[in-house]
């Protein structure tokens, strides 16, 4: 392999334009003139007017641009990775987690742990599930690897609490059953692609 490609360090096409700037004054008189002209130009008052106008707008006309956090919050991207959520199946309301343990396995900071057992219905039941948020680096691998889209990242980024444990149990992360109708499908990393239906192959079912 030749090394030529590494020797050209100009990235992209070179279309630079030189700006038509004033010449920098060199004499003491020239510098003095520049300072005086800049100081007494009306630009200063233009700036002060803008500030004054916006103050009037914000205080008296109700046109405030500042987000009134924590009373107001900005919408965030569906791909935002904050505190995890555990989703439920929309039809039955049962939690989606099947206890496969892939999130536990893939977690690079080793913060996910689960206990599972054989339940009365011969199903695998998740008896305990916890994420240690002191260790979690919100990398999103757990959501990506989850085959059931059961663990996802939610928009809840305010992670201050009196106790670390306040977020970390299965029940805390699980969609409350009465808010099932408000459950949003996760759009972030690992979610089903928009053209997923096209990629599904049929299993032969001849009988």
């Amino acid at each position: 392999m030749g090394l030529e490609q590494f020797k050209n360090r100009n990235v992209g096409t070179q279309n630079y334009k030189t700006l038509d700037l004033d010449h920098t004054p060199v004499t003491g008189m020239g510098q003095f003139k520049q300072v005086v002209s800049r100081t007494f130009k009306p630009e200063l008052f233009v700036g002060l007017w803008v500030t004054f106008r916006e103050m009037i707008n914000a205080l008296f006309r109700g046109k405030m641009h500042t987000t009134q956090y924590p009373f107001e919050k900005l919408p965030i991207s569906p791909r935002y990775r904050a505190i995890h959520e555990m989703l439920r199946l929309l039809e039955s309301g049962h939690y989606r987690c099947i206890g496969c343990g892939l999130c536990e396995k893939i977690c690079i900071s080793n913060c996910i742990t689960m206990d599972t057992r054989y339940d009365e219905n011969q199903r695998k039941e998740v008896s305990e599930y916890t994420i240690n948020f002191g260790r979690c680096i919100f990398c999103g691998y757990c959501a990506e690897v989850c085959p059931e889209l059961a663990i996802v990242h939610g928009p809840r980024y305010e992670t201050a609490s009196e106790q670390r444990a306040s977020f970390s149990l299965f029940e805390d992360m699980l969609t409350p059953i009465d808010k099932l109708n408000l459950q949003q499908e996760y759009q972030g990393f690992g979610a089903v692609s928009p053209n997923a239906d096209e990629n599904i192959k049929k299993t032969p079912l001849a009988y």
Partner: protein, 776 residues
Amino acid sequence: MSEVQTVENMVSITIDGVEYKAKEGEYILNAARANDIFIPAICYLTRCSPTLACRICLVEADGKQVYSCNAKVKEGMEITVSTPDILAERRAMMEVYDVNHPLQCGVCDQSGECELQNYTLELAVDSQSYTIQDTKREATNWSSVLHYDPGLCIVCERCTTVCKDMIGDAAIKTTKRGGASLDKAWKDEMPKDAYAMWNKLQKSVIAPSNGTEHTNCSDCGECVAVCPVGALVSRDFVYTSNAWDLKKIPATCAHCSSGCQIYYETKPASIEDRTEKIFRVTNEWNYVSLCGAGRFGYDFENRTATKDATAFAATIEAFKKAKVINFNSVITNEEALMLQTLKEKLGVKLINREARAFQRFLGFYSEASGQSLYTLDFKEVMASDFVISVGSSLRNDNPNARYAFNNVQKLNKGAGLYFHPVGDTLVPTFGKNIEMFTHKVGHEEAALLFIIKLFADQDKLPDSVKEQLESDFVELLGGDTAKFEKAFEKMMKKKETFSLMVGEDLYFHEKAENLAKLIAVLEASSEVKVAMIPPKTNSLGVALICDLDDEAEGYTIGYNESGDFKLSALGDGDLDMPAMNQQEGTLTNMHKRVTPTNAALEYNGYVLNDIIREVASAPKETIMWTEHLPVSKGFKAVEFDSLPNHYTNDGVEHRGYLLESISREAKEISVDKFDDSNALEGEIAYRCNPQRQFNDFSDKAHQIFEGFGLYASPAKAETLGSKVEVEFANGKLTLDVIVDERMEGDIVAIPDFKSAENIYELFAGSRYQTVTIKEV
């Protein structure tokens, strides 16, 4: 492997154009595996007969398609692993296996260690061409430990094969599945072998062979080990952990003298409790088979131990005034050497009843034969084609001896003779060529004389033996002479290698010396070679390392045994000791092999080495004793950390090292005259553990359910009632009567696995005792 690979028994074969050496008469698959060539195969198990259920090991040998698990290598054979035809067959077979297989890999207990998954990927199956209506199959529990999910089962029949060929229970079989039958149109459309495989698969499912819902077996769990998918799992393990979460710790099983290779698989117990816990035990199932105690009796660790300085100081005081140390064989070689050092330095006496009996017997034997150790190991027994068992309750004493006896019948077209006073209904089912002698207690010498009469070269016998061979032993041992002679003629056909297994009955026999001499005579004058079953876990190691005493009196320290001061790994003594799954060290097993074991679980207390350091002198770590094991007894001066612990693909065991047998001048043998009036009469009790119990540790495990009671045959149990008082000459016991359906006859078995019950005292140096049994 024990067989010497000489130039004569090697043939050369060509696999995919490359020339390899293979053992003559070996299956192509095994020859390929030994040379690190991969041939796909699902249903074949090394050491068992080919099942031909999966047919995936199809190869081309000399231009013909053969199943490599079933075809033997020939000189100059040319083998092609894959041809386009074979690849098409294999792909069709894998597609068939995937038909209706539940897509629940996410929760399956096999969790990726799945051969179905592996081969589906290996053969790049990315679409499905075949369909059939699924049949509803419900998951069931076969026994207290076995869980079967037929939905996941691919009917490779490995479980049934291992149960029949290795374990001998034959407790499971294939049975009718019901449901849709295969469309005949497939026959023309799909590859031939794949169709035949599917046709059989679609009709079958695995079920207990006794026709009920539950297996009547020894609950060894070997079927669970060999299952390539998640269909068979132990009930305790179902849905509790993924394979990848578990840490494998290579170890040696501590329950009996088989010293099987095992892995303890551990991970933190739960979210709240982060201490390591053993979740299951696995093994290299192609090369070693476990019993139920080994597989399920793993949680016997000493959890409560802490460094209790006052208890430790009291221990040092106790050791300073101790006259006797009473211990058992559940102990590592290193600890045995420590105790021997104590004896040498402080002059304490060492008491270990089972190892002492074995030591004496081995001593008598080596005096008469000129070898320090018995001739065969049990792998060689398994390779023989005529096997004899004397003085051991095969089903209960040692699982590996039983598997060897069974495997000889199934795989080597072998024959067997079984001499034992307690009748057994299982042993005769191992094969067609088995003669069972249920002789009287005390007639063990007659059994050995009879074997000498059958196999020995009369000219080589000493006179004292020769003159005793006149009598009709068949009649004496409870057989029918005419019938036996006819059967024996058939048994001897095409037999080349003969092995004799002797067990604990002989070591505890009144005439042990004479029996040992007879065995030496038999070996010297015939083709029959002997293997001995050491009575408990490390009895062989203890017998070689320690200079044991017969009787002792005075202040006694009991190590896992009773004493004035008790060291206990069960957590009930004056000072805690680590259990075998918390220790590292070596064990000497019945294969005459010194095998390493590692600590699976944390231990926070004091160990024997700490005590020895205080009272005598000791190195920093227990394992530093390993290199000081007595070379004069056959041990090697190697460091613990340099001991290997694995098997290679050709099945060669690389675990620790083999003991060396040291030869010396054999003494002239003169045996005592056999007196047939010595037989015990009346109500007889036999010291014998139930199948999955060996010691206090197996008893502590939560998946071992066999209780401490009086075991009796169904007929005998009926006459006894439900609870009895057993009166010995020097004590009595009250025991529940437990029916052992595979026992026969009137002798009852009393277990010795609870050391607190002092069963050895009651039996007073013998394994049989006359007793009075009263219902209470």
